[in-house]
Structure formats: C-alpha cells, structure tokens
Amino acid sequence: MIAYLVKRLGLAVLVALTVSVIAYLLLYLSGDPALAIAGEGARQADIDLIRKTYGFDRPLIVQYGDWLLKLLRGDLGVSMYFKTDVAPLIFSKLSTTLLLALYALTVALVISVPLGVLAAIYKNSWIDRLCLAVAVVGQSMPNFFFALILIMLFSISWRLLPVSGSGTWQHFVMPAITLGYYAAPAFMRLIRAGMIEVLSADYIRTARAKGLPTHTVIFKHALRNAIVPVVALAAVQLGFLLGGSIVIETIFALDGLGYLAYQSITFKDYPVTQIIVLLLSVIYIFLTLASDIANAWLDPRIRVA
C-alpha cells in the first residue's frame, strides 16, 4: 500500500509541475504580453517600460523559475487588472464556486441515483432506454445551451427565477441544475452497471428468499454495495464541476472563481489566470489522488495493478 501511495503521490506532483509550466506559458499565447497590457493607444515607450517592469525581457526559463519560487513561498502575485493581491481575490470568490459545485453535485446525485437504480431494475426495458436517453442528452448537450433553455423557461416565460446574479439561493437554482445535469450521466451509468451486477449476486437472492420487502432489498442491500464506486467518482466529478463552472458562472453572472477566470482572461490579467488554472488543476489532481487512494483502500486488487 505504501509503495502504491508513493507512486501515486509522485505522479501527482509531476502532473502538477507540468501544469504549472503550461499555466505559466499561457502568458505568451496571445502575442506579446507587454503589448496586451498596454492596450489600445499606448506608445512604444510605454510598452518598453511595461516589458521591463514586469520582467518580460528576461529568458523564459528564468521568468518561470522566479514565478514558481514565489508561488512556493506563498507569494501569488498581484492582479494587473484589479491591482490587488491575487490570493485574497481568489479566496474571496472560492466560496461561491465551492457552493455551486456542491449544489451541482447534489443535483447530479438526486438525478442519477434513482434513474440509475430504475435503469438497472428494468434492464433493457423502455424505462432503461428512457434513462439512457436522459443520460445521452445530459452528456451531449452543451451546457451553455441547456442554461439558455432554462433561462428561457424559468425566467422569461414563467418569471420564477432571476436570470443572473448571486444574491439569493434562487440565483443558484439554474446554474446548479445546468452543471449537475451535465455531471449526472457518468454517475447514472456507474450505478446502473453496479446495480445490475449486485442484483444478480447470491446474497440478494438470499435476501429475497428471506421474504424481505423489495425496497429493503434494493435500497438497503443492493444500492449500498453498488454505490461504493460512486463515492470515488464523486471526488473526481467535484473537481470537474469546479473547473466546469467557468462557462456556467459567466452565463449566470455568478460572482465566483469561474467568473473571475473569465474576467481575467478577457482583461489579459495573467497573474490571476495562471493561478486559477493552477489552483483548479491542483484541486483536480488532489481529488483524483484521493479517489485513487479511496479505491485502493476499498479494493485491494487495485494496489497491485
């Protein structure tokens, strides 16, 4: 187990380092960063001054090394747009995004657990096909499009929910449904597969033979076992939901990390963009690692693989 842990941890650190290189190089993706910062109407002298001030005239490897060292010392830099330290800026937005991800995860589970169970019980029937259709639609429909459909129905036609903002809990309803529905199919298919396997197991037959009511058999005996891999997947999906909120927060103008990411990309606020990319990646890497470890702990066969 220890050897496995060390191996996974080493891999995670390597992935994080690779991501940090990519995050740093984002700076140079849309041309000369000094020119981008200077904006419309700047003179050459201003641009040269910016290049020097920000140290863009040094070799790339030196710039990256300097940036990484500062990061490791806890200095996340200063936002070029908002002119404040990046760390408090990001942490002030993190709670909205975390809240949204948790709501979305709840929505995903509320949709996927009953549908996954239903699909397994009525395997290959029209109910199963219907659940499959729901899953396919959720997985394949672009979430910004689904968001617009929800806005059209709930805000414009029925006027039940506010279109955008983050003031009240109502503001979170549509974003959580949009994001949650997109994450649901993966859970649904996993629960269905798990339930089908478990339902054909001997102990289920025994439970039935004892004369236990069907719902006790399904929810107490079968689902409990089928849901184990879902816990591991939930960790990974949570990371995905945090990252996936960029589009959703932008559409619903939710004042979270995703919206900040969008703003910082629009305003070429590189220090903020770099840290958000890195932070979301590290959270994702950490959650994947946690899920790997949880799986290995639950299922010893994985440890040898």
Partner: protein
C-alpha cells in the same frame, strides 16, 4: 434473472415507487410554491431604480484608472469636468468653470464656479483642480490612459477660484480633454486616500453619487439631491441606478426580456431587431465616434509589395461596395470619406478623393498594375468579422483573393507594428476626444501604428497638432486628409452604430459619444 423474477421485481417495485413518489411530489409542490412566493425584486419603475447591465467591469472606479466604456459612463454621471461639451451642438459650456480664456498658446485661465460641493461635503475650489490635475498628469502616479493627461505641464492656483493650466506644447485640443476625460476630485479627500481609496469609496460632485460598489459585480448610484443648479448637466430624476456586470450577451438579453434589467447597450444589430417585437421593450440606435477603415501597408519591407503600387490600392478601394455593406450589414452609422470621426474638430472631407464602387475600373487598374489575373493578399481583423467577410467577397469578385487572419486586438497590433500585415480592418474610437489630433495622427503621424510613413503627411499632421489658430489648423489638417485619400493609403469605410435595448417605461436618448446620461432620463 429469469423473466418471471424480473416481472415480480417489476410489479413489486411499482408499489414501492408509488409510495416513494408521495414525499417527492410534496417536495416539488413546496418548491414551486416557494419559488412563486419569493420572486426576486426587480429594478424598475415601481422601485424608482434603473437597472443596467454591462459586460465589462472597470478595474478601478476612479476615472483616471480605468479605460473601459462603462468607466467613462460612470465618470460622467458621478463626477464633473471643468468644461461640458454639448452632445448635440458640440459647443463647450462652463461646468465647474464659469468661463475661460487663452492667455498664450500654452496657457488657459479658468474662472471657477463658487458654492459647489462634493458628495462628501467638501467644497470645490482652485485646490481641487490644482491637486487633481497635477496628481494625475505626473507619470509616476500611472494614470491608465496617459494620452489624456500627458499634455499637461502644470496647473497653478491664481486665487481661490482662478487657475491656470499650462501645456507642454501649444495644445489646441486641451478644452476637449477638459470637457470629457478630466474629472475633478475633492483635493483633501484625494490627497488623503489616493486612487485606491477613491476606488473603495468614490466621491465626485456629479448628478449621481455612488452608494455601493462591489468590484467586478455591481455599482449602485443614487440621485445627488444637492446638485448645483447652474450645471449644463441637469440634476438626476431617477432615484437610483444599479449597474450590474454581466459578461454574457445572451444573459443580458434574457435580463431585459424578463424585466430583470431596464437597459443594455452594444447589442448586435440582428439581435436588437428581434427584441423589437417584445411589447415592453424599445430598441434605439445611435451613431458613435468609432470609425472603421481598411489600412494598406506600404512600408519598406511590407509582406505585400503590390500595395506600394497606387493602382493596386485604388483597385482595392473601387472593389468594395461600401454603401451596400453599410446598409445591409452595419446598419446605422454613416459613410466616411476621410480617416477621422466627422464630428471631430479639424475633420472634413472637402476635396477628398471618394472611391466609388466600380468593379470594372478595379479590374482595369489591376491589369494595368500587372495583375490581369488578380492577386493573393492577407487581411487581418479583430472585430466586426461579418464586415471583413463582406469585404473579402467583394475583393474576390475582382480577382483579389484575401485570406482572413482573425485575432485579438493586441496580437493584430503586434503584427502591424512588426511590419507583418498587408491589409488590416481597423477601427478607432479616439478615446472620446472630439478633436482630429486623437484620430488621424495615430495611424498616419509617423508613430508605430503608421504603416504608410509618408513624410509629407506626417509633417502636415504634426503642424496641425501644434497650430493654435483654428482656421489655419483646419486647413493644414484638411491638406493631410486629402493627401491620404489621393494616395489611397487607407480606404475610409464607415462609423459604427450602437444599439440600445431599453424598457419602454424609460425616456432615453442615445448620443454619438456613447455616453449614457442617467441625469437626463426619467420614467414615462
């Protein structure tokens, strides 16, 4: 599982699922009841709160430390300038200044208004002007748009209500800058808190005051009940204005459609027209100061040496049906025949060569230049892509294959400055300054964005920039504009329109400077 087992399972489960449906349907009912009860409060006429949505948030509310349009709009409503430019007549009127006179080519003297108070109660006087303008024009204080302030050498106090502004060079456009971008701050407060404090708790003297500001999210303004009577801006009529930053265009449209917000701007033409059909909305359009032109790189070492032949440049100019594109794609705006905004002081098209749509002449010119079978060329653009594509189609029709490179503004400018562009689809908004010195010289005055670098044109524009006599100045500028058009260094296209969508309850009038004047608005 056998078929019978599956059947038993199925029928049993039907019972359980029906039982489970009970609480679920209760929950659904409760949820919909809750949603109905707690419908969010909208900004609207009933609350005397105007809701506006805008896509970009300013980085700092202090007008000297942001360069986004909404920052300029907020500045005009919350702060005052020494002079006011009437948006209809372009006439200058005294605002914080009662009157002014030119002492010498570099010095302007202002008599200031007495009895004006800032939102925090501080009195306005010469110190406010002296401190604000000396502070922001000091490069060490890093005002965002240096072009607005770097012409100021110093500001002197003559007495409590008299100041002199001295420019580094004779600067005829000074009054326009003082009428648009140079807001006056309360000296004591600004000295104490600086731009950071001004951003945290903004204080101006304008018809609206800021009562809440959440960076990146919203700004709430409230009517300034004590606004001074003699201002050419009137006092505000609507109680509150809440500006929210919503980056997504569709969401903004959904907000006005659902009544969540009352006003949005910069709506694309086709989408604005669709919103016209809604009974509670009105769609208004106005011309803007932003001009569009096709720039042709004739510099030494240009990637398209063909462009150094004037016949090729004229062929390109005659190939494009500007009127048709303006009517069908741009919609609104107006044709321009010289590279400047028509309202700008010094801008004229008298005597300029106008290139009429004439594909036959275009083909003839190409043949004469040695390209009977046409040629291939790159075209770069960064916004209004449909317009670029329309031009590409017209060029194609005369045998010019234009390959589109569509990119971010910064990237395009990078290429232009490195002499790597051939044709560029440029747009320029002059930073609101209604003087030619803010437009034509940027692209033809010999600076880094100039891709023709014609010494005669450069000399004329420099002379115009520093000529104080208005008649002589206009004449010199006109010579430069005529020369640019004769030599076809760029094809002037049109000015861009702006579309606004507003609640029908709102009385609202758009202006060519794209400033939203909340103080003029009222509910019907």
């Amino acid at each position: 599982m056998t078929a019978s087992a599956q059947f038993r399972n199925l029928s049993l489960h039907r019972v359980t699922s029906r039982r489970r449906l009970g609480p679920l349907s209760w929950a659904a009912c409760a949820l919909s009841a809750l949603l109905c009860l707690s419908t969010p409060s909208f900004a609207n006429k009933a609350n005397d709160t105007l809701g506006m949505a805008y896509d970009q948030a300013p980085e700092n509310i202090d007008p000297y430390f942001n360069n986004v349009r909404i920052g300029v709009i907020i500045a005009a409503n919350v702060w005052d300038t020494l002079v006011y430019r009437d948006p209809v007549t372009n006439e200058y009127k005294g605002q914080l200044a009662k009157s002014w006179k030119q002492i010498d080519p570099r010095t302007l003297e202002f008599d200031l208004r007495e009895g004006v108070k800032f939102h925090n109660g501080e009195d306005f006087d010469a110190d406010s002007v002296v401190f604000t303008l000396n502070y922001v024009s000091d490069p060490a204080n890093k005002a965002t748009t240096q072009a607005n302030v770097r012409w100021i050498e110093k500001v002197e106090k003559i007495d409590k209500f008299k100041v002199r502004i001295i420019s580094k060079e004779p600067f005829p456009a000074a009054i326009d800058y003082l009428a648009t971008t140079l807001a006056i701050h309360p000296a004591k407060y600004y000295k104490e808190v600086g731009p950071t404090g001004m951003n945290a708790k903004p204080v101006g003297s304008g018809p609206y005051k800021i009562i809440e500001y959440i960076p990146g999210k919203s700004v709430t303004l409230e009517r300034n009940a004590n606004y001074f009577k003699d201002s050419p801006k009137s006092a505000g009529k609507i109680g509150k204005v809440k500006i929210r930053f919503i980056p997504d265009r569709q969401t903004q449209m959904a907000e006005v459609m659902s009544g969540g917000e009352d006003l949005i701007m910069h709506v694309p033409k086709d989408q604005a027209e669709k919103l016209k059909s809604l009974p509670h909305l009105q769609v208004l359009s106005g011309n803007t100061m932003r001009i569009v032109f096709l720039q042709m790189n004739t510099r030494e070492g240009t990637p398209a040496p063909e462009l150094q032949d004037i016949r090729v440049r004229k062929a390109i100019a005659h190939a494009i049906d500007r009127e048709a594109i303006l009517k069908n794609i741009v919609g609104g705006g107006e044709l321009i025949n010289t590279i400047c905004t028509p309202s700008q002081v010094g801008c004229s098209s008298d005597g300029a060569t106008v290139y009429k749509y004439d594909p036959a002449l275009s083909k003839k010119l190409l043949a004469e230049a040695g390209f009977p079978n046409g040629l291939s060329i790159d075209i770069m653009a960064y916004r209004e892509r449909q317009q670029t594509e329309a031009m590409i189609n017209y060029l194609q029709a005369v045998g010019i294959k234009a390959k589109l490179g569509f990119m971010q503004y910064a990237a395009m400018r990078d290429l232009a400055r490195a002499n790597k562009t051939s044709l560029t689809h440029q747009t320029w908004g002059s930073n609101l300054v209604n003087d030619l010195s803010a437009s034509t010289p940027v692209y033809f005055g010999g600076g880094s964005d100039d891709v023709s670098r014609d010494p005669e044109v450069i000399a004329l524009l420099n002379k115009g920039d520093n000529t104080v006599d208005p008649v002589e100045r206009k004449k010199v500028y006109n010579q430069a504009l005529v020369m640019i058009s004769e030599k076809a260094y760029a094809l002037p296209l049109w000015s861009l329109p702006v579309y606004y969508v507003a609640n029908k309850d709102l009385n609202f009038k758009p202006y060519h400077d794209e400033l939203v004047r909340f103080w003029e608005m009222n509910w019907k």
